[in-house]
Amino acid sequence: MMEQHVILLVEDNDDDAELTARAFAQAKIGNPMVRVSDGVEALDYLFARGAYGSRDKRALPLMVLLDLKLPRLDGLDVLKAIRANDLTRFLPVVMLTSSDHDRDRLAAYHNHVNSYVKKPVDYDQFVEAARQLGLYWILLNLAPPAPK
């Protein structure tokens, strides 16, 4: 069996990060979760720069759970950078945010986000959302063919 792909969680709030990890665990999604705290760190991880310089950048995460409001570089800029790079162009990115603001949603879709999920306040609903996300992106969805 191939090495388990990680789920990259970009989340500045420790509470949310812990609860998200717990929700995915409860939803029986076994993929390891890597958490980074802001947009710059997220790009460092993805493009194997800075503190992640030794990482193999071809080992892409299974998906990115991206918060919108982040310190330094915000979620939208991270999304743009992911879509602008050939290596990460097709990487599944799911916006996971408290905002259901029309403008935010529109901006995310303009930049080719794969999904936009509002974090429910109700934790039970959150677990259900995590379960469905995992089910869909890990089991159901077919990734684009690898470049020859």
Partner: protein, 567 residues
């Protein structure tokens, strides 16, 4: 015309004519007394130098005696016209002529008392002279009067049409365009060039303007290039002096050097190129203040400005002044409205940013409270007793409640900012959908619902949906504890109403009903955030409609609303 020798006297013996001239010459001194009296007897007349006129009169007499009546006729013609323009009644000429006739008769009688035949001949000549003079004066008096009347009518016509035009344009907030219109009309009516400039707010300058009009396009462009950038100090130059004093200045004949000396240096080259021959500056007044100056200039040496031109220009300027003042006022108001709107938009944007961060930042800790409470319940269930679990459930339901509050507040803020998009809306269909949804969510309830068919309005469909959802939702909720729950949705004319058989409320508190967070029932009995009716109130108000309620405790409530339907 004048060079044809008129036969003044019909076949009078030469001796009688000679006698007449002799008497006339003797009478000249006495006649000058009549002339001196004229201003007192006939009202205001043009100023004249009586001594010079008497001397001129003697010269005319001398030439008439030699057979040349032209200077005399010329004089009579000009008298007729002058006195007509001065507004003298023609009857005054009769009395003047009669006094002349009387004094000549007295002299003739005294001179020829012993010669009845000679006296008769002289008196006939005097009579004929008086009548001929009077008829020449009359012709020219009435011709001048007629011309004056036609001019007055034309002037009234110009004043009226131009005045209406200015008044109509006073709604134009483009002040420069209005100044251009005024300059154009004055340039056309009075000629040749005209510029209208306003005094700056601090009163120190005549502001630059692109208003200059001249029928010659090259002159127009030349002057506007200068006037558009150069301002003129109030008190300096012709227009500047007029702006300072509020008094018009008329310079009928002016050569360019004089004009250059009189005007501000920055306009010298321009005036020289235009070739100004006559200048007129008129104050632009409104509500008792001088708000600017109108400069008129002629470029035809044979046609200087007259007092008539000045009066007409002032009349037009007074009409224009009010229109321009109004336009400036409206412009200032509009600018102020624009500034307020911009300020409002800024504060709206700030509010939006605020509610955005509220939605994001307030939800995050709530999620943590709920999540970790849930984690406690899940992972430490065995260590918690019934009370511990109870407290955690209470914590969780409080966070849900706060989350609902945040959602409703955001909704309230969002609706306030929405623009209304009116379209025909089927309210009956919306009501049926809403009830169907309520029944789905609450299948255990038995509620009799009566929705009138064909209720339509011209309103914003999404917003009206929220109104009906809230009102029917409330009716549904507040009938929950009543045996026979019944809800009606109907309209009388433009007024829609939702009636129920629920708990109703005490009308004493009806005022509070539509303010956010005001609840008339304990949260324990009926859930909800207390924002729903505030949202409904805003939507109805946004439509230009009204909402009010009638109720009685335990007998149900009726909510009435209109949607400002323009149809």
């Amino acid at each position: 015309m004048g060079n044809v020798q008129p036969r003044w006297f019909s076949a009078r013996p030469n001796g009688a004519v000679r006698d007449f001239f002799d008497l006339f010459e003797e009478a000249s001194d006495a006649l000058s007394d009549i002339a001196r009296e004229l201003p007192r007897t006939t009202g205001p007349l043009p100023q004249s130098d009586v001594d010079r006129e008497v001397a001129e009169s003697r010269e005319r007499l001398r030439r008439a005696r030699a057979g040349d009546w032209r200077p005399y006729e010329e004089r009579l013609r000009s008298l007729g016209a002058t006195y007509a323009r001065a507004g003298m009644a023609f009857s005054a000429w009769h009395s003047i002529s009669y006094r002349f006739y009387e004094s000549m008769v007295t002299r003739a009688v005294a001179a020829f008392a012993g010669e009845p035949a000679r006296l008769t001949q002289v008196l006939l000549v005097v009579g004929e002279y008086t009548e001929r003079s009077l008829s020449i004066i009359a012709d020219h008096y009435y011709a001048a009067k007629d011309k004056l009347q036609r001019e007055a009518a034309a002037r009234i016509e110009i004043l009226s049409t131009t005045g209406h035009e200015f008044a109509a344009a006073s709604g134009d907030t483009d002040t420069q365009r209005l100044l251009g219109l005024v300059a154009r009309r004055l340039g056309e009516v009075i000629g040749d060039g005209c510029a209208v400039r306003l005094i700056s707010d601090d009163g120190a300058w005549l502001e630059p303007s692109r208003s200059f009009y001249h029928r010659d396009l090259a002159s127009r462009d030349l002057a506007n290039r200068v006037l558009a950038t150069e301002r003129q100090r109030v008190g300096e130059g012709l227009a500047g002096r007029v702006a300072a004093t509020g008094e018009p200045v008329l310079i009928p004949r002016i050569d360019t050097e004089q004009l250059l000396a009189a005007t501000a240096p920055q306009f010298g080259a321009m005036l020289r190129q235009l070739g100004v021959t006559s200048a007129l500056a008129i104050p632009l007044r409104s509500r008792g203040r001088t708000i600017g100056a109108i400069s008129l200039l002629r470029t035809r040496p044979d046609d200087p400005y007259t007092l008539e031109d000045q009066y007409l220009a002032q009349d037009l300027a007074d009409r224009a002044g009010l229109a321009i003042d109004n336009a400036v006022l409206v412009g200032t108001l509009e600018q102020r409205v624009a500034e307020r709107t911009a300020a409002l938009e800024t504060s709206n944007r700030e509010l939006e940013a605020f509610s955005y961060s509220v939605s994001h930042d307030l939800r995050t800790p709530l999620r943590a409270i709920d999540g970790f409470s849930r984690a406690l319940l899940a992972d430490f269930d065995h260590k918690l007793d019934e009370r511990g679990r109870h407290y955690l459930h209470r914590t969780r339901s409080a966070t849900q409640r706060m989350s609902a509050l945040i959602d409703d507040l955001l909704e309230l803020a969002r609706i306030t900012r929405l623009a209304i998009r009116r379209e025909p809306v089927d309210l009956s269909a919306i009501a049926n959908d809403v009830i169907a949804d309520l029944r789905r969510r609450d299948p255990a309830r038995t509620v009799w619902v009566h929705i009138a068919a064909g209720l339509v309005a011209f309103a914003d469909a999404r917003l009206v949906h929220i109104v009906i959802e809230n009102l029917l939702g409330n009716a549904w909720k507040f009938t929950a504890k009543h045996e026979r729950a019944e809800i009606w949705f109907d309209a009388v004319g433009p007024t829609f109403h939702v009636r129920d058989t629920g708990v109703g409320f005490d009308m004493t508190y009806a005022e509070k009903l539509f303010s956010p967070f005001q609840r008339l029932h304990a949260a324990r009995d009926y859930d909800g955030t207390g924002v729903g009716l505030a949202i409904v109130h805003r939507i109805v108000g946004h439509h230009g409609g009204r909402i009010w309620a009638e109720a009685e405790v335990d007998k149900g409530a009726t909510f009435f609303f209109t949607l400002g339907d323009p149809a």
